[in-house]
Amino acid sequence: MAILELTEACKTYRIVQRQDGISGALKNLFVPRYRDIQAVKRISFAIEAGEMVGFIGPNGAGKSTTIKLLTGVLVPTSGRVQVLGLSPFKDRKRYVGRIGVVFGQRTQLWWDLPVSDTFDLLRKIYGVPPQTYRRNLELFDDILGLADFRHQLARQLSLGQRMRADIAAALLHDPELVFLDEPTIGLDIVAKDKIRGFMQHINAERGVTMLLTSHDMQDMERTCQRVIVIDKGALLYDGSVSGLASLSGSRRSLIVDFNVHTRCEPISGTELIQENALRARFSFDRGSMQVHELVSQVAKKYDIADMTIEEPSIESVVKTIFSAQQARL
């Protein structure tokens, strides 16, 4: 049964056009000029209990706006939002006690206080029973390594530590459903991996339903079974991660830097683009070529300084899906 349903949801921001000067200030007050921004246009999807769903799209696509509609922060302009059998904004207090929210861009930690003080206050706000609280802290210490910095002031944390603490803060009260808006933004690979692992653990072990946004395709591939893609406020794709990969061509590139001037020979299953004497790019399909196979073949033949794998960017994925749909019409 779906625990989250979005039906033809729309959100239009109405922003006041500022007018300058004293007469402008008066006009702002009495005859304000407005401009409408349609951030979300008739989006519908449903999520089942226990699912882990990725939500992607380029900048300004409307991801954060959708998350705010789902968390009761914003009131939809039209359409229906129904989560856990409640209306997020109408039943706000009852509803938000059962969900967890992480806004990766801003912290919910009390800036001038140790992390543990924020946790303790959250325990009181949500009325978390002591044994639940203790059990959760232990788990967070284990997987997120919070014990190292739980007594440090929030403003003294590194970005990665802060994000881990923020994610823990959103999960202290055992929410059934968790929304994460860019939980890996600005983090390095190691920190990202830690957070991905934690999200997977919570989803798998506790059956917590999750919806997360990201600009990193890897976040989706590593953690989610299902992705929803939006662009310019409209839904583009809703389906499996592998389906998205096949739709978007899923071409990766292996970029090889050589120590000496090298002319490469083509390798079957890849497309070779020699960029110059010191760098080559092998573009390949993830279905027909394994990365480690390609890497070992290349490493055996040439004198290599460095190799990197380039994933398709969200922008290129969106572009391919979009043109595929245009072609079908």
Binding site: Y13, I15, G50, K124
Partner: protein, 276 residues
Amino acid sequence: MKKSTPERTCSMNPVALYFAYGSLSLKALFAFRIDAVLRTLAVFVREFASVIVVYLILQRFPDLGGWNMNEVLFLFSFLFLTYAIMIALFTGFRDFDMIVNSGKLDLLLIRPRGTMFQLMAYNSDYLATLGHGAVGITLLVWSAQAVGIVWNPARVAFLLLTLVSGVLIQGAIFVAFSCLSLWFGKSGNVFRALYRNSRKIAGYPLSIFPDAVRSIVLYIMPFAFVNYFPAAWLLGKTDGFWPGLPFLSWLIGPLLFALAYVLWRFSLLRYSSTGH
């Protein structure tokens, strides 16, 4: 689903939670002890300087609409005392535009507690309370003695009720300003100026002003009910107004605050967050 909804057995009552917030606010403020002490002192000196200016002006006009200097200082003390308490409760509404712009309001909305409650509880500016409170108590004690007020139980009760109502009147004004910000975009500066200037007018007996000025502190920013009418009653002055007005003050505060609360609940649905 593997997990059932946990029992919410330990939900804390709002008063206890308010104090939990309060002690954290204090802890955060006094994490920088020297800074906190200096800032409190700065508030005290700034506010006391404004009193001294009035004092100097009054020396030239020994009789201001029938009020002598001590009586005017008594009038003044109400403004400081009510502000001191009000600011401890309504800092979140004073800083509302900033809280919206920084996206903090989103974070309050995802907590299972009232939004107004959280704005009242979170990050209270207790330094302002200390600064204004010290000025207010100094003025009250000193001027009441100079004027020779005898503090019987009726007068003490009158004073306390007046202070409660005065806090609610100004709280209602702050809440209403925040609602206007939700409707018209950031408008804090315009209203802060209106509030501050009305408060300046309220430092003097209403009887010296022409009708137009009077109506500002009667109908627009009803400061007259915060200090003028109650102080006049305690000083035994009638100044020619209807003698029921000092007692009406007690009603005005709760009434305005109830109105502001309704407006708040309604305006919050217009909230449109920030773009990140």
